[in-house]
Amino acid sequence: MKIDSNDPRITAFALGELHGDEAVEIARAVRSDAKARAAVEQARETSFELLGALHGEADMLTTQQRETVRRAGNSPVITDIASARTPIWKQPAVVGIGVAAAVAIGVFVTIGEPNTSGAGSGNGIADAPTPTPAWDWGEVSLGDLTAPVTLDPPKAPSANAHSVSSAPSSLPQAIAQSPAEYREQVAKRIASSTHEEGVNMKGFASTDPAWSDVAGIGYSLTIPQTSGVASWPWLERYVLRENKLPPRHTVRIEELVNHFSYTPPTRLQEGGFSGDIEICRTPWNPSTCLVAVNLKSEGGFNPRLMVSDDRVKQIRLLGYTSTPAVKPTEETPMKRASAYQSITNHSNYVICELVLINPNDTGEGFLPIVDLFFSDSRLFCGKIKTWSEVSADFRFASTVAATGMLLLETPDLGNLTPSELSRLIAQLETSGLSNKEHKKALTTLKRVASLLAN
């Protein structure tokens, strides 16, 4: 609804004098109508000046702070995750191309029984509970199986979603209950797929991870709670079977990282959420740092990463770039993510890269560089470790991310080259990895580094 800028309710709203439904009406206009928003902000600015002049100070946020609050509700990640998106291989330009396209995926949401445009949740879920024999994975199309659909229909958050043992009634439930089995299914189906001809490379999104400014304005990043898993088996299929690299843009960094399981986080826990963060110097770029967020969530809330504008100049999320959204079709009866409230039993390993304001910042001191928070719990992280000091999970995940960055020719790679990648892999090998999946993956990583070098 359009609100006239001469409407006195604009000023009343700016001054906190509107309540109830009238306040919602103006709030709605402020979010949807730039003119209404500008009118409210103008009234607030004038109030700010008057209060400042008459009282010496105004008990109001600055315009910039208010915008920071609004940005927190519009951060690119949550927008991406919450948007209904169709897998790119189902777009008209690439219909029929098969699995090759299926690895370049967005996020979309569907529900239902197998064969009814299902939904898949990809993530590196470590703690796979019981198998679910009642679920017939073979009934799910490969396209649906590899789409990273993450949300179940609304339901009350379970007291302990981790111990669910009843038969799943939808693909997301099956994935949540048997993540390891799901990953195995995806890998098996991709390995046996023969649909690789006619890949329309123009149809793939080629968005590079974008840097966002932090210094002076602050930044709040909604941490994605899910990702797909298909890119790793896709990469292995090319590298191990055909001894060649997959076409650029057919892998996604977050999918490579989250194909694997990681030690469940324990440091920050509240309700159904647990999370952990670590920071280290980027081994291939002395002017940046890497932040790892390891999280597990039963859903309902969005964990956030607050980034210090005193210490951080820029941030970028490695992976999670979006594919173009298209209208739903009968084949993909998408539901808006906002129609769903609960995300059950998901975990995700998310890596960000930071450019520090002071390149020599050691991270010592009490001020956090990043601050993971979820509801009323928060976890500060201010100390920057060296790469060799962080957990084996972080070293492995960052090496996999580096592999994805090289494959995707991500900009601003610093000193990251195939030989640097080989050095990192060698360090992982000599340090000894206790996670068997990680250890096994080193063979593929070495082959990728070798192919990249040639």
Partner: protein, 198 residues
Amino acid sequence: MAHALSIMPKDMSAPASESPDSPDHPVPEVMETNTELVERALSEYESPLIGYAKTIVHDLDRARDVVQDTFIRLYQQDVGKVRDGLKSWLFTVCRNRALDVLRKEKRMVSTDDEILAAEASPIESPDQLTSAHDRAERVKAHISRLPENQATCILLKFEKGYSYQEISDQTGLTTGNVGFLIHTGLKKLRATIPDELH
């Protein structure tokens, strides 16, 4: 037209402001999205929360940071779960965040004396006080050029901190009139107050 301003509010010592104990505003009947809830919360509770946070952290800038963080946290919440107890939720989170800041600053005292030494003295110099007083007088002069009703409402609102309802009680105008007078008065002031006073 210029005129003499003579405002004698009922209670000069108690500007209207909300506290955690003041009554809740009515919960809207229409449904709202997460972003609309935050926008409404900014409108209704931004100033009261900053005032409240100031009583804990004793610094306006820190209070603003605390309140900014409080509203960002509101985005994480399920609208259905917080809208009924919005005020209580906001004041509770604000208080916790403000106490967090205090705890952090206690660590700061013991670890970083240089930062403390570098902080500016909070006491204003005579020059600064004179300048602030001059600025207030010049702004009041601009307000006094508004029509009398407008000027009265503006001063009661911004100098005394009265709510529309309290201004209505004080002046005998309806709250709708008060809202209109303040709305038009602010627009005029925006156009007439010179930039150097901003």
